[in-house]
Symmetry: C2
Subunit: 343 residues, 2 copies
């Protein structure tokens, strides 16, 4: 017998000896049909390879299984890594995630959300651009589509926020640096796009104060998402000055630090915590490459796994409660200090 091509659910229902609406119910949720029915469908599924037409499925469904994951810049390994985690967990939970990147452009971010709207997603996991985002646009979007913010928070928007506790990052790095040597100066971009950067600066100032040390903030110019180059140029300018504010530099994030280290190397400066070293450099994020910098970077790590787990768990809650949570929650995971050679 030649198992002819199954063209639609009608035909598949026929060959499996079940009515089409029940088959439809099965594909919507396999556990919503009787066990014996389910087995019969799955047997038929092995003999004939049939998949429901996605477009027809979603056309009339109130709620799809689509999930949009939106990040600000996918070519940044940090976001690539967290997107990878979240994507895997969405699939595990039975969703159909699709990945989008705004590539630093607010117009593209808005365009993504607009086309996402058309996909009737069960939920959207959004790591917004931050300062550059069109806030009122995003606010409107969050009201229409169940959205969870992650990584960077926009006050009050979305059903929940899941991210890392910036204060915890700073407290651990500053604490360690102060215990082990000279108090750090804080190295950051003058106009950071990401709100986390501001939280980190504030946390730095507060922590230094609580330790009774004088804070020093170094602001470097530069725009866009080429953080390494910005850190590098900023380091060159800083290192040309007659006196450094401190011989211990705490970068706002690892990508700046990567650039900073490359400038130090080029200048012939030794970075590390030995007596013979000229500088100590530490940072935050535990960027996938921070293990391979020269020297390897002392940093504070995100709990990637916890953030992505919690984000997807919250998504599931949100979907199951019909797109509305009782209250907007903000979950912040603490950092883990990673001691390497640079400080």
């Amino acid at each position: 017998m030649a198992p002819r091509k199954i063209r639609n659910m009608e035909e598949f229902a026929a060959v499996s000896g079940i009515s089409r609406p029940t088959v439809s119910k099965y594909f919507n949720d396999p556990d919503s049909v009787r066990r014996s029915t389910r087995e019969r469908i799955e047997q038929a599924l092995e003999r004939f390879d049939y998949r429901p037409n996605i477009f027809a499925m979603n056309q009339n469904r109130k709620l799809t299984k689509n999930v949009g994951i939106v990040v600000p810049y996918l070519a940044d390994p940090f976001f690539a890594e967290i997107a990878r985690n979240i994507e895997a967990k969405c699939i595990e939970a039975g969703f159909r995630p699709t990945l989008y990147s705004a590539y630093g452009d607010p117009a593209q971010e808005a365009e993504i959300l607009d086309s996402l709207r058309a996909l009737k997603p069960a939920g959207v996991l959004l790591a917004p651009l931050g300062r550059d985002s069109d806030r009122s646009f995003i606010e409107k979007f969050c009201k229409d589509i169940p959205t969870i913010l992650f990584d960077s928070n926009l006050e009050g928007m979305g059903a929940a926020f899941v991210g890392s506790d910036n204060a915890s990052f700073i407290e651990q790095t500053v604490d360690y640096l102060c215990r082990s040597g000279e108090p750090p100066a804080f190295f950051e971009m003058r106009h950071p796009a990401n709100p986390n950067a501001n939280k980190r600066r504030i946390a730095y100032l507060k922590k230094m104060e609580s330790l009774g040390k004088e804070p020093r903030v170094i602001k470097v110019d530069g725009r866009g998402w080429g953080f390494e180059e910005i850190g590098r140029q900023g380091a060159f300018r800083l290192l040309e000055e007659p006196r450094l504010p401190s011989r211990t530099i705490l970068c706002s994030n690892d990508r700046l630090a990567i650039g900073f280290l490359s400038a130090c190397y080029e200048k012939g400066l030794r970075v590390g915590l030995g007596e013979d070293c000229d500088l100590r450099v530490a940072s935050h994020d535990d960027h996938p490459f921070s293990k391979f910098t020269c020297p390897s970077l002392t940093t504070a790590a995100h709990d990637y796994n916890a953030v992505s787990n919690r984000t997807v768990e919250t998504l599931i809650e949100l979907v199951e409660s019909g797109g509305q949570l009782k209250a907007r929650t903000e979950t912040l995971f603490p950092a883990r200090l990673i001691l390497r050679s640079s400080a």
Copy 2:
């Protein structure tokens, strides 16, 4: 007057005073309707914000504007970067690209292609996993769906292949290294997943022979996509041996080189081309971070722009010719040598 919500094309056609089929034609291709008609539609489009329902659109359309972009590992900045380029160019050309990553897993690659099939894409741009790919599966897919391979070739599959000329990479780096010092040993993974790696080894052997130099291939163990770590561990083992095959190391790709450099740094070896240096290290790909390694990496750069342009151009040809090209073409772009400090 309160412009009430437009629910569907029917209503939009009514308020714009045009028949629905004509409106449908407009959305399919704005130039397919009379100029005056087009203007009337576009005026109405400004007064009422209406977007056709994607699911309903694609359900009956023979050919959608969807394009799938599939890469083997999106958290690898090289693929993130090329995906970014290709995505932008697809949008420019009027397609709706969606990005997928197999994350090194052949099962996931197959799953992506399967779900892509359901999206009736106008075309698929596929950078396959390579050695790990389920070849017969991909072959079947290419027969059903217009597919263009990029970055890494699978003999005879797809309508065309666009990538970089591995021989050109090797010839330039080997040539330069031989002119400027000791001939290089070639450093690679024992079981590279990517077919480009094999082409590079073969090109290395050939080029060395043509220069009358003795080739030396160093193979390091390790699996998966953590190339930096593999390069690093391989370097440690290599550097422990009493004698190196050469004091000039040519890595198969930049990510291995990044790991190699980090091992050198940790061992206290100076890498560069000065008299006082212990080693020279060069590589291939011009990875986004290769500018920031210590020392900065001498490498051969892909012509990202040419590859992504040509890929999308070929896609357009393919779509316009109805999913079939006269002959399968293979386009290879030469490398550009980037001289930095490591060699």
